[in-house]
C-alpha cells in the first residue's frame, strides 16, 4: 500500500499532532486520551477531518497509548479502543471523499524493558501482539509505530506485527540532539534493525523541531533503502504556556529541507496543527522526490552501538566453554557474573564483537543461551555473535537479542542451509557460512570456494543481503595438516575477490598441539589479514593477537594518523612508569587498604610457597575478620569495607583458578541470594554476595526482580540451608513477604535472612523471616550460625 502510494505521489503527507490538539480542545491534563474515542468521538473525527482537509494522505488513529498496560487505569481493553478509533478515522476519510488511508498508531508501552526496567521481552511481545491483533481485525490500512526510544521495545513490536498481521509497518524513533535516543540508540542501529526485520519505512518523530532533527534525518537517508518518514514537533514547548516555538510557515520550510535530504513521508508531531500540515502540503507540492543511492552498509549492532565492517575487526572468542574449566563450571552453576566479566575483559582489550557459545553436553543450551544473552546485553554494548549448531537455540537467542547479531553458523549441508538461513532472514541477522558440507572439509581451496559460492547463492536467493554474508574458509591444525594453512589463506583470497563477500576465520586452531602457540597464531593472523580476512575470531586479551590487528590497520593506512594505535598503547607506557610496590606489602595490608590488584598479585606469589587452603584460613579470613570488626566498631565505614571485600575477592579468584587446575574446589556450602520481584536495586545484595564468597560460601545469585517461584526452585534444586532476600523499596516488601511464604511452604527446612534499607527487624519477623541482617557483615555471621 505504501509503495503503491509512493508510485503515485512524490510525497506522502501524514497528519499532525493528536495529543496537543486534544488538549487545545479541552482534554484535561492527566486524562486518558484514548477514552475520548468513546466519550467524544466527534471531537476526534473533527481533528481527523481538519487534517484531511489540510492535505493529509494518511491520518493516524487516536490509539497511541491503547495498550493493556496504559489502558489499565481506565478499564478499557485494546480490543475495545482500537476498533472504535479506527472506525472514527474511517468515517472521517469517507466523509472527506478523499483517497486517504488510516494508520493505526502504536506508541511505547510506557515501561522500560529489562534490564533497565522490569518489563520482560516476552511480556512486552504479548502486549503488542494484543494490539496488533485488534488492529488487524479493525480494517486499518497500515500500522505506524512512533516515538520509540528503546530499540529493544521496537524490535518486540516489529516481531508482533510481522507475526500477527500483514499490514505495512512504519517505524519511527525519537532522537535527541546528540543523535541518540534516550535509551542510547543511534540512527544507524535503528536502520539496521528495522530493515533487517522487514519494516516498510523508517524514520523520526517527536523530541525536537525539524531543524534540530536534520542531522539525524540526513544520516538515516544516507543509510537506508526504505522510504524515510519525518514527523518533527513544532519546535519546543514553553513549560508555562505549553506553546510551541516554530511557526507553520517555518515548519514547512524546514520540512522542504527534510524532503531534499531524501525523506518521502512527511508529517508533524507534538504542537503541529492542521495549519502546519496545510503549509507543509503546499511547500512540497512542486517538489520532486529525491532518488537516494543506496550505499552498501555492512554492519552489525547492539541496541546502542554499531560495528561497521569497513576494516578488519576482532571477534572475541572467550565466551566458549571448549577447553575452559572455569567457564564450564560457571555455565553449570548458572553464574552469569563470571561470563559478564569475560565480556568486560574482552571489551576493554579491544574486541569489536563477542562470540557467545554456551554449548555443554549436560545443560539446557536454549535456556542458558537466552539467560546469558539477556545478561550480556544488559552490561555489554558490543554486538554479539550467537554461536550454536542448534536452530532452536539460535532462534530463541535471535528473538530476544537487542540488535542485529551474527549467526555462527550455517554450512554447505542441505539441512543446515534449509533450517538456518530462514532464521537469519526472519530476524535480520548476518551469518557466517562454513565451507564444509556432507563430505566434510575439502582439502583444496577451490573446493572450499565452491561451497562458499553455494552458501552465498542460497543466502542471496532468500533475500539475505550480500553484505550480511561472512564466509569462514576454516582453519585447520598446522601440526596435523601442514599444507592446509596455505589452502585456507588461498580460499580466503578467492572468496574475498571473486564472491565479494566478507571473510571470517577462527584463528587459534592453527597452532593446536604446538609449543609457543601465540607465535604461530599471530603470524597466521597477519597472513590471513593480508589475504583479505575481515573478521578475526581471536582471544583479544592476548596482546600479540589484538596488537596484530591494530598494527595491520595502521600499516594498511586504515587507521589514519595512527590515532587508534596510539590511543591503545600510550596509556600503557604511562602505567609502566608507576611500578607496583607489592613486594613491600602483605596480603593483609592489601585487603585492609582495598587494593585489589595488589591482593591478586600477592596471592599469586604466596601460592608458590603456601597451600591454597592455608592462604584462605591463615591470611584471608583473619584479614577480613579484622576489617569486619573495625566496621562494626565504627572505625571504618561501608566504602572501606566494600573495597576490602573486593580486594579479598581478587585474592579469592586467584585461588579458585589455582584449585580448578587440580579439579578441586572449596565451598563451605551454598546460599541462594535474590533481590525480590519488582525491585531492581541490586547493590546491597551484591555486597553481601562478595562478602559471603570471601568467607568460602558458594552463592547462587539469582539477580534482581526475581519471581517467587524462581527463588523456591533454586532453593530446592541446590538444597540450600539459607536463602537471603533483599528489597529496597517499601512497595516491594510485599514481594519479599510472598517469597517467604512460598519458601516456608515448599522448603520448610531452609532458613531465610532478609535485609534492605526500608526493612526493620520487627517487620522482618512479622513477614516470617528467620533472621534480619542490618548489613553484609552480619549476614556472614548469620551464615556461620546456620551453615557453619
Amino acid at each position: 500500500m505504501l509503495n503503491k502510494l509512493l508510485a503515485k505521489k512524490e510525497f506522502i503527507i501524514f497528519d499532525g499532532a493528536m495529543g496537543t490538539q486534544l488538549q487545545a480542545k479541552g482534554l484535561a491534563a492527566g486524562e486518558t486520551p484514548e477514552l475520548l474515542n468513546f466519550t467524544a468521538p466527534d471531537m476526534i473525527k473533527e481533528i481527523h477531518s481538519e487534517y484531511l482537509k489540510a492535505g493529509a494522505d494518511i491520518i493516524t488513529t487516536n490509539t497511541f497509548g491503547a495498550n493493556r498496560h496504559k489502558l489499565a487505569r481506565c478499564g478499557k481493553t485494546p480490543a475495545e479502543v482500537i476498533p472504535a478509533a479506527v472506525n472514527i478515522a474511517k468515517q472521517a476519510i469517507a466523509q472527506s471523499k478523499k483517497a486517504a488511508y488510516c494508520a493505526a498508531d502504536i506508541g511505547p508501552i510506557g515501561q522500560l524493558l529489562e534490564p533497565a526496567g522490569t518489563l520482560r521481552f516476552e511480556e512486552a511481545y504479548d502486549i503488542f501482539a494484543e494490539q496488533v491483533t485488534a488492529i488487524e481485525k479493525s480494517g486499518a490500512d497500515l500500522i505506524i509505530a512512533e516515538t520509540f526510544s528503546d530499540l529493544y521495545e521496537l524490535k518486540c513490536l516489529i516481531l508482533a506485527v510481522k507475526e500477527n498481521s500483514s499490514l505495512p509497518l512504519i517505524c519511527s524513533m525519537s532522537f535527541e540532539e546528540n543523535m541518540r535516543t534516550f535509551e542510547g540508540c543511534p540512527p544507524e542501529a535503528a536502520v539496521l534493525l528495522c530493515e533487517g526485520l522487514g519494516a516498510d519505512a523508517v524514520g523520526v518523530n517527536c523530541s525536537l523541531g525539524p531543524n534540530e532533527l536534520m542531522p539525524v534525518i540526513e544520516r538515516i537517508c544516507s543509510l537506508t533503502k526504505l522510504p524515510v518518514i519525518v514527523q518533527p514537533n513544532a519546535g519546543l514547548p514553553d513549560p508555562m504556556t505549553g506553546k510551541y516555538n516554530v511557526l507553520p510557515k517555518d515548519f514547512a520550510l524546514a520540512m522542504v529541507n527534510a524532503a531534499k535530504a531524501g525523506a518521502a513521508i512527511l508529517g508533524g508531531c507534538c504542537g503541529t496543527t492542521p495549519e502546519y500540515i496545510s503549509k507543509l502540503t503546499a511547500a512540497v507540492s512542486e517538489l520532486k522526490r529525491v532518488n537516494r543511492e543506496r550505499v552498501s552498509y555492512p554492519a552489525v549492532c547492539s541496541g546502542t552501538s554499531v560495528c561497521v565492517i569497513d576494516r578488519p575487526r576482532v571477534i572475541g572468542e572467550r565466551i566458549n566453554p571448549t577447553g575452559k574449566k572455569l567457564l564450564k563450571q560457571a555455565l553449570k552453576d548458572g553464574d552469569t557474573g563470571y561470563i559478564l566479566n569475560q565480556a568486560i575483559e574482552q571489551t576493554s582489550a579491544g574486541a569489536d564483537i563477542l562470540d557467545v557459545n554456551v554449548g555443554l553436553p549436560d545443560i539446557d543450551e536454549k535456556a542458558v543461551m537466552v539467560k546469558v544473552i539477556k545478561a550480556l546485553q544488559g552490561v555489554c554494548t558490543l554486538p554479539l555473535q550467537i554461536d550454536s549448531p542448534d536452530p532452536e537455540v539460535l532462534e530463541a537467542a535471535l528473538r530476544i537479542y537487542n540488535g542485529k547479531p551474527i549467526v555462527n553458523s550455517v554450512n554447505g549441508e542441505e539441512k543446515s542451509l534449509s533450517k538456518i538461513l530462514p532464521l537469519v532472514k526472519k530476524y535480520g541477522a548476518a551469518v557466517i557460512g562454513l565451507t564444509l558440507d556432507e563430505n566434510g572439509i575439502p582439502k583444496k581451496a577451490e573446493e572450499r570456494f565452491e561451497i562458499a559460492k553455494r552458501i552465498t547463492e542460497r543466502a542471496l536467493g532468500m533475500g539475505i543481503a550480500k553484505e550480511d554474508i561472512f564466509i569462514d574458509c576454516l582453519t585447520l591444525t598446522a601440526s596435523a595438516e601442514q599444507a592446509a594453512a596455505d589452502e585456507t589463506l588461498k580460499a580466503v583470497r578467492m572468496v574475498k575477490e571473486r564472491l565479494g563477500v566478507h571473510t571470517v576465520l577462527g584463528v587459534s586452531n592453527i597452532s593446536f598441539g604446538l609449543p609457543k602457540r601465540e607465535l604461530v597464531n599471530h603470524i597466521f593472523l597477519a597472513m590471513a589479514l593480508e589475504n583479505g580476512l575481515d573478521l578475526a575470531i581471536i582471544n583479544p586479551n592476548s596482546e600479540l593477537m589484538s596488537g596484530t590487528v591494530r598494527a595491520f590497520r595502521l600499516l594498511k593506512n586504515i587507521d589514519v594518523n595512527c590515532t587508534e594505535y596510539i590511543s591503545a598503547y600510550s596509556e600503557e607506557s604511562a602505567a609502566q612508569a608507576t611500578p607496583q610496590k607489592s613486594e613491600e606489602m602483605t596480603l593483609s595490608d592489601a585487603i585492609a587498604k582495598g587494593l585489589k590488584d595488589n591482593a591478586a598479585k600477592l596471592t599469586e606469589q604466596l601460592l608458590t610457597t603456601e597451600a591454597p587452603m592455608d592462604i584462605i584460613n591463615n591470611r584471608l579470613i583473619p584479614a577480613l575478620d579484622k576489617t569486619g570488626a573495625e566496621f562494626e566498631s565504627g572505625k571504618i565505614f561501608l566504602p572501606q569495607l566494600i573495597l576490602s571485600a573486593a580486594a579479598a575477592s581478587g585474592c579469592f579468584d586467584v585461588i579458585k583458578r589455582e584449585l580448578s587446575k587440580g579439579g578441586s574446589s572449596i565451598s563451605k556450602g551454598k546460599i541462594v541470594l535474590a533481590t525480590v520481584k519488582g525491585d531492581i536495586h541490586d547493590i546491597g545484595k551484591n555486597i553481601v554476595k562478595v562478602l559471603l564468597e570471601n568467607y568460602g560460601y558458594t552463592v547462587i545469585d539469582l539477580g534482581r526482580d526475581v519471581d517467587y517461584e524462581t527463588v523456591v526452585e533454586a532453593a530446592i534444586k541446590h538444597d540450600v540451608k539459607l536463602v537471603g532476600l533483599s528489597a529496597l523499596m517499601t512497595t516491594t516488601l510485599k514481594s519479599m513477604e510472598e517469597t517467604i511464604k512460598l519458601l516456608k511452604k515448599r522448603k520448610p527446612d531452609c532458613k531465610i535472612v532478609v535485609g534492605g534499607a526500608v526493612l526493620t527487624e520487627e517487620y522482618a519477623m512479622k513477614i516470617g523471616a528467620d533472621f534480619y541482617s542490618k548489613d553484609a557483615k552480619q549476614t556472614v555471621d548469620i551464615a556461620k550460625k546456620v551453615i557453619g
Binding site: 491534563a29 492527566g30 511505547p108 552490561v379 585489589k596 565505614f637 566504602p639 571485600a645 573486593a646
Partner: protein, 227 residues
C-alpha cells in the same frame, strides 16, 4: 545541562562513610570520572495552580490531586506548584550494572555518586527554572514517598510532565522510577515569603529512617527536616 563535578563528600555520606582513606578516595575519583562521561542530565517541568480540597491539593486543569496533609503543610501559602521530573539518564544505570559485574566496590560507589548526580541535576534544574519564573519565593523540593504524600502519585506526575516522551523517564508497576537515578518533586511558588509548616516532614517520615546510615552516623541528608 552539563554537570562538571560531583559532590564526592555527599556520595560518601550516602555510603555511610566519613574520613575516607586513600584507596576510597582514589576509587571515588575514578568512578566520578567514569560517571560524568555517561551522564545525560535531563529535566522537564510544568506549573500548576493549586486549590486546596478535602483530600489535599488539586492541580487545576488536571485530574490529579496531591493527597495528604504533609504536602498541604509544605505548600502552605503557595498559589502554584512546579512539578519537576529529572533524571541522570540510562547511562548511569548501565555503568552501575557494568560495575556490578566487574567490581562491587566500584558499583556501590558509582551508585551513590549517581544518586548525588540526580540531586545536583535537580538543584541546577531549579536554578534554571526559577531564573525564568517571576515568582520570588519557593519551597524546598517535596517528593512522593515523603511523609504521607503517596508514592503512587508517580505515574500521574510523569504524565502531567509528559516525562516519558520528553526525558525518557518511566515508572514500574512497583512504582520505581526508571532510569533509577531520577527524581520527581513538587516545589511550591509564591509572591510572598513562604514558611512551610515543617512539623510532619521530619526525618521520621522517611521510609529509610530506621536504618539510615547518615542519621546513625549523626548526619542529615537534607531531604527531610532534621529533629
Amino acid at each position: 545541562m552539563t554537570i562538571e563535578e560531583l559532590d564526592k563528600n555527599e556520595a560518601l555520606r550516602y555510603l555511610g562513610g566519613k574520613n575516607a582513606s586513600g584507596a576510597v578516595l582514589t576509587v571515588l575519583s575514578e568512578c566520578e570520572q567514569a560517571l560524568l562521561k555517561v551522564l545525560t542530565p535531563r529535566y522537564v517541568y510544568s506549573v500548576y495552580e493549586i486549590e486546596p480540597c478535602e483530600k489535599g491539593l488539586k492541580l487545576s486543569g488536571s485530574v490529579v490531586t496531591l493527597t495528604g496533609n504533609d504536602i498541604r503543610e509544605h505548600l502552605f501559602g503557595c498559589s502554584r506548584a512546579v512539578l519537576l521530573c529529572a533524571t541522570a539518564g540510562q547511562g548511569a544505570d548501565r555503568l552501575i550494572r557494568e560495575s556490578e559485574a566487574a567490581d562491587v566496590a566500584k558499583a556501590a560507589i558509582t551508585d551513590s555518586l549517581a544518586s548525588v548526580a540526580a540531586e545536583q541535576i535537580c538543584d541546577r534544574a531549579e536554578q534554571e527554572i526559577f531564573s525564568k519564573l517571576e515568582y520570588a519565593y519557593k519551597t524546598e523540593r517535596f517528593s512522593p514517598g515523603y511523609g504521607d504524600l503517596p508514592l503512587d502519585l508517580q505515574p500521574s506526575l510523569l504524565a502531567l510532565c509528559d516525562a516519558q516522551r520528553k526525558i525518557g523517564l518511566h515508572v514500574t508497576d512497583s512504582l520505581l522510577l526508571t532510569p533509577r537515578k531520577s527524581v520527581t518533586a513538587i516545589i511550591g511558588i509564591s509572591d510572598t515569603p513562604v514558611q512551610p509548616r515543617k512539623k510532619n516532614v521530619s526525618c521520621e517520615s522517611c521510609p529509610a529512617f530506621e536504618n539510615c546510615k547518615i542519621r546513625l552516623n549523626g548526619g542529615h541528608c537534607g531531604k527531610y527536616n532534621a529533629e
